[in-house]
Amino acid sequence: MNAPASPGKRAGPIILIAAIPLALAITFAWTAGWIGPRRLSGGDVADALEYNGGGAHPGYRRAHAKGLCLSGAFDANGAGTALTTASILKRGHYPVIGRFSVAGGNPLAGDGRNVFHSMALIMRAPDGQEWRTGMDHTPIFPVADPRSFVALQRASLPDPKTGKPDPVAMKAYLASHPETKAFQDHIAKAVLPDSFANATYYSINAFRFTDANGATRFVRWQMAPDAPLAGLDKAKLDSLPKDYLFDEMVSRTAKGPSRWHLQLVVANPGDVTDKATVAWTGPHRVIDAGTLTIDRVRPEEQGACRDLNFDPTILPSGIAPSDDPLLAARAKTYSTSFTRRAGEGPGPSAIGKDLHATEAAR
């Protein structure tokens, strides 16, 4: 056995030596999605967002491209510890940075649109744990899963002439997506907040909160403003100054801080926890976990928010994602968008541009 295999007996070993690495390579290619059934990647969702935005806007977030950095603090009152071991909900004062934004891929779009107004936050605990969240001003989302999200982006491509989607494509899409129709009906009727400061921001998805006894509950949260809600006149959105919402928040914050209460809403038995399209209705156990104070806003060029990814699955120990498929898709798509814009280099923000113009005029 110690002599090399004779040439005549080498065929078997040679086949084996070729076959084992080849089999591994094929399995690897299949795992990577290079061969085999087509799966929905972060790139596919980012591409759909770029398509809907009339092409990529290099250097910017693929969704919610227009934004303003915020900073302040979260003062936890300790009540949240009834639901979770997350250190950030223990009584204390925690620094917060984040971002206000409006939906869409165009970083310089006007604010007079009936679209999501959003608040994204990173709350940091001294032990290094972070709670990142991206919230919208509607309690429900138009789609329940990433494939529907992509289909909606494709169907709702605005016609450059009318600014409206192709009615035929949209009708075909809505026929198989009653949840999107329900969302459209909701947002058509709902108040469109006239300030970032007076909107309630919702967690969109449900999350799993685990308390010190190991009990797990599903929770959706919302940031409820101290400022009373007032709406924009939806009939006059076209005449709204381009950066109205952002300018209003800049001047409002110069006068004083804005506050919100973090409300943790515990699911009732039977509440849908894996579909962001379904609202939780009726009375719920709600815990006021503390106060968010935002005392500073800055353009993205100067603030700390631009080069961060508000991935809603970056959560402190004691809070975990639910089975909502949107959460995994948001995490992956945000990551893809983050990497794309990192490679492109940042561009000026709408508010930063205004600031430079003001400074130049001085």
Partner: protein, 193 residues
């Protein structure tokens, strides 16, 4: 007497790491391919395994430097000897570099480096988006090169074990040498230590 095997600790670490690294490469390319639930599930595994690989690789390097390696067969042609040495250096480099690049890209991306529920590591690089992009790209490219290198390493090991039957494969395995097995025929080996 010329040694025929790597140190037993090194052999244990080799096979443990072989499993971990292969699993890690599949987890990595699998998770980034999908927006499905596999993405967060695999990401939870990716970081602790990555740090485990880094710790094992550093430990292994120290043991390897301290205990050396059995000599290659004397009749192995020079180009093959160079390929063997060079590929082993590259394998060690990849084992150590991949977790560090991963740790570095999270640092440069401004992410918390959450290894397990309670273990959060400090950043090793400044928060810098351009640097993040370079490291994120490198993480993929080095992973693919690493996998290709592992396939070559595997093919070479099989070639030694099945065709040359020169004891090189057995130097990393645990089987008891049978009489007449190449691992006991020292005459054909030279000691390079």
């Amino acid at each position: 007497m010329t040694r025929t095997h790597f140190s037993p600790v090194l052999r244990v670490i080799h096979w443990t790491m072989a499993l971990l690294i292969l699993a890690m490469l599949f987890i990595g390319v699998g998770m980034v391919s999908t927006t499905g639930p596999a993405y967060p599930e695999l990401l939870l595994l990716h970081r602790p395994i990555g740090i485990a690989i880094l710790v094992l690789a550093l430990l292994r390097l120290a043991i390897r430097l301290a205990t050396g390696a059995p000599p290659l067969p004397a009749d192995l042609p020079r180009p093959q000897r160079l390929a063997a040495k060079g590929s082993h250096v590259l394998l060690y480099a990849a084992m150590i570099a991949m977790p560090l690049i991963g740790w570095g890209l999270l640092s440069a991306g401004g992410y918390p480096i959450v290894v397990t529920k309670t273990v959060v590591l400090p950043p090793i690089l400044p928060h810098d988006l351009a640097l993040y992009f370079v490291l994120r790209t490198l993480h993929t490219l080095v992973a693919i090169a690493f996998f290709a290198l592992i396939l070559l390493h595997l093919a070479a090991a099989l070639m030694h074990g099945l065709i040359r039957r020169d004891g090189v494969l057995q130097s990393m395995t645990f089987g008891r040498p049978k009489p007449g097995d190449p691992v006991s025929s020292e005459s054909s080996r030279i000691d390079e230590q």
